[in-house]
Symmetry: C2
Subunit: 364 residues, 2 copies
């Protein structure tokens, strides 16, 4: 089977359903989480050994995709360093950004966007590199990174959990993620895959962090102990229902749906705390939950249609790979129909839950 890293990517940078256009929700969350980055940057300057002043600040954005989000992040970092150095009356260091995403990401478009930042900060000596690869593996040399950031990426698993019975038959029939009706083995398999992936993510980032370096992670999570609550599973349930409809129409093979599970997990704060503690090389400086109203009349999305477009941009590459590109319009049209009905009856999920965490490397 192909690895997720060969399949998963955001829709590329151009077109109606492109990731660039649908990133608005992420930008909104970035505004909420914005103070986190300047605070992490400040720590770099106040805690570093002053006898060897920081000459280069290495900053990574993991799973940065394309569009305004990585550029916004770069601006925030530059502004924060300018401010801090101004306060301290010290010379600006040089800044080296490493923009990471999977090899399939549209780096050509990403690089073309850099001119926006160039125009804004002509007097700052900064450099931007593309760093292709999976954050489930090593990406950078040891002890090199001062600030590692990731916004809405680390909820992606390195692979979908294997959810079959002893005879090798699928256990999560008609679903593509954990669901209220999934057997316990399904949630167990998902948790287990997340634990493995997140633990190695922590280990690799810790190896790559410079002394006093910080890791800032923002990702989809959940507020409840139950991993199958509505806010967490609603979108995937919706897509599974649309896929089941395509099965009923003879357009999708039932076995293809039954055997498919998305490589994705919404952890809780408690699960994160447990894994950081268990891995042992990092400490949590800050952790918080971000609650965003998305459904209902006061929600973030203006309409069911725009909400489905938002979901499409990050689910389509995966679903298209499994079920075929030619079915995608039908699939998302059906999903829109279902969502419209759910809106009428107030059955849709209304919240998007994010978790923000800042990690620091423990002193040896």
């Amino acid at each position: 089977m192909e690895a997720v890293k060969d399949v998963l990517c955001m829709n590329n940078g151009v077109g109606e359903n492109s990731y660039v256009k649908a990133e608005a929700l992420t930008i909104k969350v970035m505004a909420i989480t914005k103070p986190i980055v300047p605070k992490a940057v400040q720590s770099l300057f106040t805690e570093t050994d002053h006898s060897i002043p920081l000459q280069v600040v290495n900053v990574a954005d993991l799973g940065c995709a394309v569009g305004p989000q990585p550029l916004e992040f770069m601006s925030t970092v530059i502004e924060s360093i300018l401010k801090k150095c101004g306060e301290m009356g010290r010379e600006m260091p040089e800044i080296q950004f490493f923009l990471n995403d999977l090899v399939g990401n549209d780096f050509n478009t990403l690089f073309k966007g850099l001119s926006v930042v160039q125009e804004k900060y002509k007097k700052v000596s900064w450099f931007a590199m593309g760093a292709p690869g999976s954050f489930h593996g090593r990406l950078f040399p040891r002890n090199s990174m001062h600030l590692v950031y990731s916004c809405y990426s680390v909820h992606w698993l390195s692979e979908a959990p294997k959810i079959t019975n002893e005879a090798g038959l699928p256990l999560n029939k008609g679903k593509i993620y954990m669901s209220k009706t999934s057997p316990p083995a399904v949630t167990k398999a998902y948790l287990s895959q997340f634990q493995e992936d997140f633990s190695s993510l922590l280990k690799f980032r810790s190896q790559e962090l410079a002394p006093n370096g910080r890791v800032v992670l923002i990702f989809n999570g959940r507020q409840t102990a139950d991993p199958t609550n509505k806010d967490t599973c609603y979108t995937w349930d919706l897509l599974a229902e649309a896929l089941s409809y395509l099965v009923s129409q003879g357009l999708v093979d039932e076995g293809k749906l039954d055997s498919f599970n998305v490589p994705y997990y919404n952890p809780s704060q408690e699960e994160i705390k447990y894994l950081v503690d268990k891995e042992g090389s990092l400490t949590i400086e800050f952790i918080d939950t971000i609650e965003l109203e998305i459904g209902g009349p006061n929600g973030y999305w203006s309409s069911p249609e725009s909400r489905i477009r938002g979901h499409r941009c990050f689910t389509e590459p995966l679903l298209s790979h499994q079920f075929g590109e030619r079915l995608m319009d039908k699939l998302y049209d059906k999903a829109t129909q279902i969502l419209v009905e759910d809106y009428k009856h107030g059955k849709e999920a209304t919240k998007n839950i994010g978790i923000a965490v800042v990690l620091k490397k423990k002193k040896l």
Copy 2:
């Protein structure tokens, strides 16, 4: 006027005239120059202060384009470090490659090719970054690079020299590069632009070099003091003749041809030595001329057609931008006709002259 960096790039990675396919000549030259890189790598390990062993080796490939060439180079570096560390009985450092080219380069294709190197060196801890930008400006933080390499790129100027008389009228009519019939002001303007560009290239690379770091440059050059000798100018004369034909057919505006000059220069060893000495922060460890038979029955190109395809891959983006994409097939067809005739009468240039130079940062 647009900067060269917005226009110049090799033809992208896919198709009949793509740079990937036409790179065979470069690969041939790389084979000749291959011993230079291992020698530079060895110096890094033998000259570095042994009390602080090198943990990460930072390596840059400037103007790497796409295709087998940057991958070949990476393999050569990894092999050299493996060999040297084996001999010294020391642990392998991590290696970080920075693959540089202009923003318009096809980095997506470049990154996809990295899997070839990944398969070959699974046990070595190496990382590859894309570094978009012009080598006529700063690309990397100060004191960070151990080995900076560039194969067949630094003969490109940051901009075409301005070659007009006092009234602003073009002086290099009917030509697109220096030529036997060009007035002296033309060669003077070209030399002046090269001096400016190469001096700043040296200055920037010197700033970016780590102590004991090396710069290895391989580029088109010339063997004679006269910058308008046949081996140097033949290709551009040929293309100018083909363009003049298009002018005579009313397909190209004469003014467009007269005002156009390619941002390119073939320096001599003496010019390089003079500029390195004048800039002052680097010393020449090694310099040599590479002579490659390209024309005639024993030459590198199997036919005039394949030779024109080879030229097309690196001249088309520039010419297409100035004269229009729709004329490109006509232009290169005409150039092929002229070359076929020249072959018949032994009038074609038969040599490609390259210069290889290794530079070392002077101790402060």
